[in-house]
Every structure is written in C-alpha cells, then in structure tokens.
C-alpha cells in the first residue's frame, strides 16, 4: 500500500500493463470467424489433383469424364488459368544475379515437385470435387529428379529447370577483408559443419481462401487467411488485371500464420482465377496432407563455419559458407533467398569482432519451396555462432558465460556496426547475460549436473545469445522492387457517443495486435480501454500498410496508433477549447473527460464534444469544421531495423541408453524495448521458444530419394506437444528505441531465434563426458545413439 506510485497508477495508463485481449473471449466461446468457417451464397468448392512425381513432363491431361459428373462446375488446367493470370517471378532487384523461373497458378507442361497442384476441379461440395479428381487422367513422363544438395550442385548433373546453366538461384559474398590474416595469426580456431533440416509452420488452421468475383460489379472480394491483405490486394489486382480499388481482401480470424501465410501459393492464385472464370464464390481449404506438401518449408541449410580467437579467448574473425536448398522456385513476392541472406548477416551478431567473410549459395531442387517462416535465418546464424563460441570456450577452458561476457559488445558501446554490415542502435547483452546467470541459478545447476553425472545421469546446460531483426524499413523489400509496404496507417474516429474506433493496417493473428493497439489509443487519448474498438484486416476499410510480419505490429503499428491518437486528441481539445473558451494547451483528457490540465478538474465529457460537433455544429463558432476523424501514416526512419537482443538458457537430460532428450527447464532474458503488454509478450516468447524447441528435437520434412515427402501427416511429422515442453522462465531488460516515441521493438522471433541453439549446446554439454558431438538438428534419438556409437 505504501509502494511508490508508478506511471501505471495514472488513470488510463495501459502501456506496460498486462490486460487481457478483448477479442479472446470470442475465440474462447467458439465464436471465431476463421476463413475455413465461411460459407457464402452460391459458393462452390475447389480441390486439386496433385503431381505424384517430383519432376515430370506433362504429356497429356484428359478431363473429359469429369466434366460430365453431376455437381462439377469447372475443371481447369494450367492453360485455362494462364489465359487470365500473368506469371510471377520470385526475384528481387537488389539480389544481383538472382534467378527463378516464372510461375503460374497451375503448370503448363512440367511438374517440379511431388504434391504440386496440376488440375483444379470446382464442384458443389469438396467431396464431389475430390471424387471427380479420380476421373482425371494425366500422362507424365519422368524427368531426372534433383533431391540431394550435393547432387544439385554437381556440374553436368540433372537440372531443376532444363534450359538453365545450373541449379543456382543466387550467390552472394560478404568480405570485409583480412580474414585469412586473422586466422593465420589466431591462437585458437574452432571449426564445424552444421546441418539444419527442413521444417514447416504447421499452423493448426491450414491455408484457407474464399474468392468471390462479381462480374456485374467487376469486383473481386477475397476472404483470405493471410497476414498481409494489402500485399494480396496488389497481387490479385496486377496478376488478374482488375483495378486495385475493385479488389478487396478480408483477413478475419487466422488460425496461425508465422510467416507461412504471407507467400503466394499456387492454389490460392488458382482459386481467384476459378472464381473469375465462374463468377461465383469458390472456397479452398487445404487439408493437412496438402499443407505438408504445399505450404512453404523453411531452413534446410548446411553451414561450414570457423571462428578464430586469440590466446585470451577474444573472438577475432569468422569465416562462413552457407548452402541452402529452396525447392524448385523462389517464392513470390519476398523470395526464398532472404533467409540465407539473414543467416550470413546475423552470424556473430552479439560479438565484438572485426573480420568476417561469408559466402551464400542458394540452390534449386525438386521439392516444395522454402521461404520465410518465423525468425527468418535467426536460428541458423544463432546455432552456428553459439556452438562455435561453446567449442571455443571448451578449447580455452572457459565457462560458457565467461567467454560470452568477455566477447559481447558492451552495453555502453552503442551505436555499433557489425562486421556483417548491420547497424545496431542499442543492445543489452551484458545486462541480459548477468540476468540469465542469476535466473538460472547457474552455479546450482552446474553443481547438480556434476553430482548426477557421478550416478550416470547426463544433464546438459546450454546458453545462446541472439540478436533479432524487427521493424524492417523500406530498405528490406521496397528497395528490391517488391510492393510490400514498410509503413502503416491508422484512421481514428471519435464516435458520436464519445468512443473511439481505430482502423489500422497491422493485422491480428492471435498475438494481440488489437489488444496492444487499443491499449496505446486508450493510454494516449485518456480513455478507458473498453471504449476503444480496433478493426483490422480489411483492405476496403483499413488504410494501406505492411500489416503484421517481421515483428512490426508493436514497433511500427503501435507507433502509427500513438501518433494518430495524439493528432485526434489535439483536434478534440481544439474543439473543447472553443466550447470552453480556453486555450487547448490548458486542457487534457482523463477517463473520457476533458479536464483542466493543471488542476485536473473536470470540464466536460468528450462525448459532449462529439455530440455538439456531430449534431449541433450550428452552436460552434463560424468556420469551425470539427475533424473528429484523423488519418495518419507512419514509416520507420532512422535505423533500417530495430534490432533487439536477448539470451536463452536451458537445462535438459539425455538418456544415453535410448537417445531420448528430456527438456527440464528453459530460460529467456529478452529486450524488446518498451513492453506494451507483458503478459502478451511473455506468451509470445514462450510460443516462439516452443517452435524453436520443435525444430531442435522433432520437426523435419523428410524426403525419399525420389523426392517424395514421406512424413506428411501429424502422426509422422512430430510437433511439440504439452507433455514434452518445459516450463519457461522469462526475464526482461528494456532498452527502448529512440527512433520512435513509443520505443517498442518487436518480439515475435526472439523465442525461436535461440531455442534450438540452446538445445544444441546443452545436448553437447551433456555428452561431453563421452567426447562426442552433435552438429545437426533436429537432434533425434537416432542421432544421439549414432554419436554415442550405440546404434
């Protein structure tokens, strides 16, 4: 009771407060409105015949029998859709020399991965459409299949795209010089080759789309389970030649996305075309097997890396080669090389060293595309860096905390430019390291580990520091020619009853966008949060913006809301000042009441201002035009990205008889700048960590030698379930960015960024007594037993 008052004790102070999400009650009552729930009048259902071959020529397609089936309305092949849809190519201008073949909704004459959609059937029910697929005859002629990474790079080997010179999509090199020199003069060099399996997002709601073309109005409405409605408005408009203002994309509740739902998928483009051809709404919801074979996959890297250190354990240089295979095409419109590009640029990010060289090679193969999925490139860069740091510590006889404390960029030394070219405004590695050490009870864990080891119980402790990329500026995609917005917009209105409606371009996928935006608006305006209604995800209502990806919801969307609210507040106070015969600067708003700024004495409710302005403008001074709706856009300036940082730790136990790994506890200290809602941030971190833990131990898209995905179901592809996941302890350090008034940075990638690196280090720590190491993820029991030579 005697605790000092904090900023949270002010009325309407919502920034920094753990308030529940207003929209969660609806979802808890089973009243979500997911695209897969949607049914429109006269709606038809699409299903796709998929290629059984990873690479084959389409000799002929016979659809004659299907067209006669009752209930079937349309059968469409690649040729039919190519007449109305222009092709797309997944390259960006600033990735010099990048190539990728043009793509169409359905292929014309060749399939390039097993599971690629070949023919579409639209029928009165999904079941009829699926039945009809069985009547389609496609003659294929097998072509050589490129599956393996090494085979794909072999000179004179089979080509994913016949007619190209080789299977290279993109090559890039970073070199700031003197790397060879640094290695020649190093006292210690650690070196390893790592591999990272392919995995995929496995959103619980698969991809879903309802396209509704109205030929009478010349209007296309697409209900699309996507993160980025504005991007798709632009794409549907351009590729189907419909004026942009006549394309509306609505993204209501989305059952998970994680980056997976912002890429262009062939089926989604096809469904839009099918609706145009039929002039009726067409629905497509991927089933789980379709999701596994057609959603983007992610990662799939092989990295060779070495690190040079001096006698004292100072990191001097890193030398990295990243090879990544991305499937048959680069995705559109963001491309599949962004991940590799971020891998080589995030290497060594927490550390102070000067010399860096990296090569990136991005290779095509006959598999489904890989592309951006949560924490793009972060887990690879983090695992490689942090494993090398641990290996160096072991070589030097240093504790993992000690070598990091010695090498991280000091908290007081910012701004800094990394040897890979990133500019860091202000990070807090030292503070995070110290905090993690305390939080883990590190010394206690080490003592317990030593004790248990004597009894044949092998526990491991792993830590991993990370830097996260958030709030990308136009330099990210815009500069490469992609029409992907880095700015966001908000339209804020005071309603006649004195409430606020906020239309904003950042979107909600469950992470709490609507909640934090309403917190910011309520806080800045001086209103109870329940009087703020936030509307997202409809290109016809909300202003154009980048929406929610790459952790830009709070940092960019939040700042947009903050600036818009301040503008609305100025307008409200100007009218209040006219009514009250006061200077606007002498007034403020608290709890929906205009008050004297100095005394806080109530003068009039803002509802009364709204009433007068809307219904009795005749009583206002002549010439007054009340502007109770403001529209405001904000684009990040200053630093090209708001980098955040943190460190994770974990404790686990390896059963050396079975190879099974039991996660005991996980820890994270994280700095996302200004925290708007701690509860949402914490569970966002936990969710991210669990995705990283899944990658570390379970998740891998496995292919046969012929390019067949062999584990495309939730019984075969293992995902983290509650029983295997540990409790997760969270600590925060707050270093707000000075680039915005709000000071918030992103937090969505942080958990995923370092979780698998932690586990990799911890497993190797546990196996240290056996003098064996593991350098690939997922770390399956088989890999553990193989390393231990017990299998």
């Amino acid at each position: 009771m005697t605790a000092p008052l904090t900023s949270l004790d002010r009325p309407n102070s919502y920034i920094g407060r753990s308030v529940p999400r207003p929209n969660a009650k609806r979802l808890l009552a089973g009243r979500g409105r997911y695209i897969s729930d949607l049914r429109l009048p006269r709606m038809l259902y699409a299903a796709f015949l998929r290629s059984p071959h990873a690479h084959a020529k389409i000799v002929s397609i016979n659809t004659e029998q299907v067209r006669a089936v009752e209930g079937v309305h349309l059968v469409a092949t690649g040729t039919d859709l190519a007449k109305i849809c222009t092709p797309w190519t997944g390259t960006l201008d600033h990735f010099k020399g990048m190539t990728s073949a043009p793509q169409l909704p359905l292929p014309l004459d060749r399939v390039v991965w097993a599971g690629q959609a070949v023919v579409a059937v639209v029928a009165e029910s999904r079941a009829i459409a699926e039945d009809a697929l069985e009547l389609i005859e496609v003659d294929y002629e097998d072509l050589p299949v490129v599956v393996d990474l090494d085979a794909a790079r072999e000179a004179g080997g089979a080509l994913v795209n016949p007619g190209s010179v080789n299977n290279t999509c993109f090559r890039s090199q970073l070199d700031n010089g003197a790397v060879d020199d640094a290695f020649a003069h190093a006292t210690h060099v650690v070196e390893e080759e790592f591999s990272f399996g392919r995995h995929t997002a496995v959103t619980l709601e698969p991809r879903a789309i309802v396209a509704d073309y109205d030929p009478a109005a010349g209007m296309l409405t697409v209900h699309h389970g996507t993160q980025t409605p504005y991007q798709f408005q632009d794409l549907y408009s351009r590729h189907y030649n419909i004026p942009e203002a006549r394309v509306r994309v609505i993204a209501s509740d989305i059952g998970g996305s994680f980056g997976m739902k912002l890429h262009v998928y062939h089926e989604d483009m096809a469904v839009v075309g099918l609706s145009i051809l039929l002039g009726r709404p067409v629905k497509y919801v991927a089933d789980r097997i379709e999701s596994f074979v057609s959603d983007i996959h992610a990662r799939d890297h092989r990295v060779r890396a070495r690190m040079a250190l001096d006698a004292q354990g100072e990191i001097l240089a890193m030398d990295v080669e990243d090879l990544t295979a991305i499937g048959a095409f680069s995705t559109y419109p963001r491309t599949s090389v962004v991940e590799g590009n971020q891998v080589i640029r995030l290497m060594g990010a927490p550390y102070r060293f000067k010399n860096y060289r990296a090569t990136l090679e991005v290779i095509f193969q006959n598999k489904v595309q890989t592309s951006q999925y949560r924490a793009v490139g972060h887990p690879i860069a983090c695992a490689v860096t942090e494993r090398l740091v641990d290996m160096a510590a072991a070589k030097l006889g240093l504790d993992p905390f000690a070598i990091r404390a010695q090498n991280v960029i000091p908290d007081g030394a910012y701004p800094q430019t990394s040897p890979t070219g990133y500019r860091f405004e202000a990070l807090s590695h030292q503070a995070c390291l110290k905090r993690l050490h305390e939080m883990m009870d590190y010394d206690g864990l080490r003592a317990e580990q030593a004790d248990l080891r004597k009894r044949g119980i092998y526990r491991g402790i792993g830590i991993a520091a990370f830097v996260e990329i958030t709030n990308p500026s136009p330099a990210f995609y815009g500069v490469g020619g992609a029409r992907i917005s880095s700015q966001d917009g908000a339209i804020l209105s005071l309603t006649p009853s004195g409430e606020v409606r906020c239309l904003i371009s950042v979107t909600e996928q469950g992470q709490g966008t609507e909640a934090i935006i309403s917190q910011i608006v309520a806080d800045q305006l001086g209103l109870a949060q329940e009087h703020v209604k936030v509307i997202t995800g409809d290109t016809e209502m909300t202003p154009h913006g980048g929406a929610t990806w790459a952790c830009r919801g709070a940092g960019i969307g939040g700042e947009t809301a903050l600036q818009a609210t301040r503008a609305l507040k100025r307008n409200i106070l100007e009218i209040a000042a006219l009514i009250l015969q006061e200077q606007p600067s002498a007034l403020d708003i608290i709890d929906g009441q205009v008050v004297d700024a100095a005394t806080r004495n109530q003068r009039m409710p803002i509802a009364e201002i709204a009433r007068i302005a809307y219904f009795r403008s005749d009583t206002l001074p002549p010439g007054t035009q009340a502007q109770l709706t403001v529209s405001h856009h904000f684009a990040p300036q200053g630093y090209p990205f708001a980098f955040t940082n943190g460190i994770q730790g974990c404790s686990l136990e390896v059963d050396v008889e079975t190879g099974l790994i039991k996660l005991l506890k996980h820890f994270i200290v994280e700095d996302c700048g200004r925290v708007i809602n701690p509860m949402l941030v914490d569970e966002q971190l936990r969710g991210g960590i669990v995705q990283g833990l899944g990658a570390a131990l379970f998740e891998e898209c496995r292919y046969s030698d012929t390019g067949q995905l062999v584990n495309g179901s939730l019984a075969d592809y293992l995902v983290p379930m509650p029983m295997e996941m540990p409790d997760i302890v969270i600590g925060h350090v707050e270093t707000p960015t000075a680039d915005t008034e709000l000071g918030a940075k992103g937090v969505g990638e942080a958990g995923t960024a370092a979780a698998s690196a932690c586990v990799l280090n911890a497993v190797n720590d546990a196996l240290a007594p056996f003098a064996v190491t593991i350098n690939s993820i997922p770390i399956t029991p088989l890999k553990v037993l193989t390393a231990l030579k017990r299998f």
Binding site: K25, G30, E137, L204, G255
Partner: protein, 178 residues
C-alpha cells in the same frame, strides 16, 4: 480408369437420416455415410466452433463431448453418432459449464490464434471432471493430444491448474455441469 462406374458417385451421394441431441436440442439431419461428425457439425449444423486441424485424431482441435466423454469428431462418422448426445464448445459455453475455465484462459491469455482453444477447453473440462486436482504433470499429460502452435502451453497449464484449485476451494470436485 475409363469406364468409371457411375453408381460409385451416386452411392457416395446417398444420405442417411440421423438424429442427435446437440447442445441440448434434438436435431435431425441427412448425412452421407462417409461424412465425419466434425463435417456434419460444422457444415450441416453450422457449429463452426469445432475445428478440423489434422483430421486424423492427432491434434485435438475437433474434440467434442459425446455422451459426456471427449471424443475426436474427426474420427467418427456422423452415422455412428446417431442417437448420441453431443455437446460442442457452443453448447458448453451457453450452458456455463466451462465459464470458469474460459474466464481463466482469458485472464491469463492462454490462447493466441484460438484455433486449438475449443478442443483444449473440452479436454480440460473432461480432465477436471475426472481428476479434481491434477498435478501440472498430469495436466500436461492430459493435454498431450492437443496441439497448439502459438502458445508455449504454459499459460494453458496455469489456467487449468488455477481453475482446479478454485473448484476445490469452492468445495465441488467436478465443478462443471456435464
């Protein structure tokens, strides 16, 4: 494949009349024999709170109560449920049977996208009706057939744990109405 037997499609189209008590009301509908209960609930009865995630009983999104027990509605055909009493998330919500669980999930933000949430709640409801005060380990074990991609599961475990304690304090072991 030429010479496709047309009767196959007709057979698939043939419907059967089934009757259930769904969320306390008698309903009858025409279903194809191959139609699963989840499709019947979602498409015929427009009870879209029950979700289809994997359609093979691995993810738990489709859990409903059938004659008082949680079952995967994707793993049974609608015709098999003929004569059964079915409670979906909509019915359990309206009944108030899981109001305390819903409130605690809300208070702790034990959900993000919400797609897994109805299944989680049905399972949590079942768990607490069987075990009044499960340990955290038992809660995690009970939920081990419910996949959530968004959260770290921890807030969900916390919420169920808290409701179990509250129900114990209130003196009723079961708490909910079944």
């Amino acid at each position: 494949m030429s010479g496709f037997d047309d009767s196959l499609l007709n057979e698939a189209d043939e419907t059967v009349r089934v009757r259930f008590v769904v969320n306390g009301r008698k309903v009858a509908c025409e279903v194809a024999p191959r139609e699963t209960l989840v499709d019947c609930l979602r498409d015929k009865l427009e009870l879209t709170g029950t979700h289809a995630g994997c359609e093979m009983g691995a993810c738990g999104a489709c859990l409903v109560q059938l004659d008082g027990r949680a079952v995967h509605s994707c793993l049974i055909f609608a015709v098999q449920a003929d004569g059964a009493t079915i409670d979906t998330i909509e019915g359990l919500s309206e009944l108030g049977a899981i109001a305390d669980l819903q409130a605690e999930f809300h208070r702790r933000n034990a959900l993000q996208c919400g797609f897994c949430t109805p299944g989680m709640l049905v399972n949590a409801h079942e768990l607490l009706s069987q075990t009044a005060q499960p340990s955290r380990e038992e809660i995690r074990d009970a939920l081990s057939g419910n996949y959530c991609r968004c959260t770290g599961y921890e807030a969900i475990v916390d919420a169920i744990d808290a409701v179990a304690s509250e129900r114990m304090k209130a003196g009723g072991a079961g708490g909910g109405v079944t």
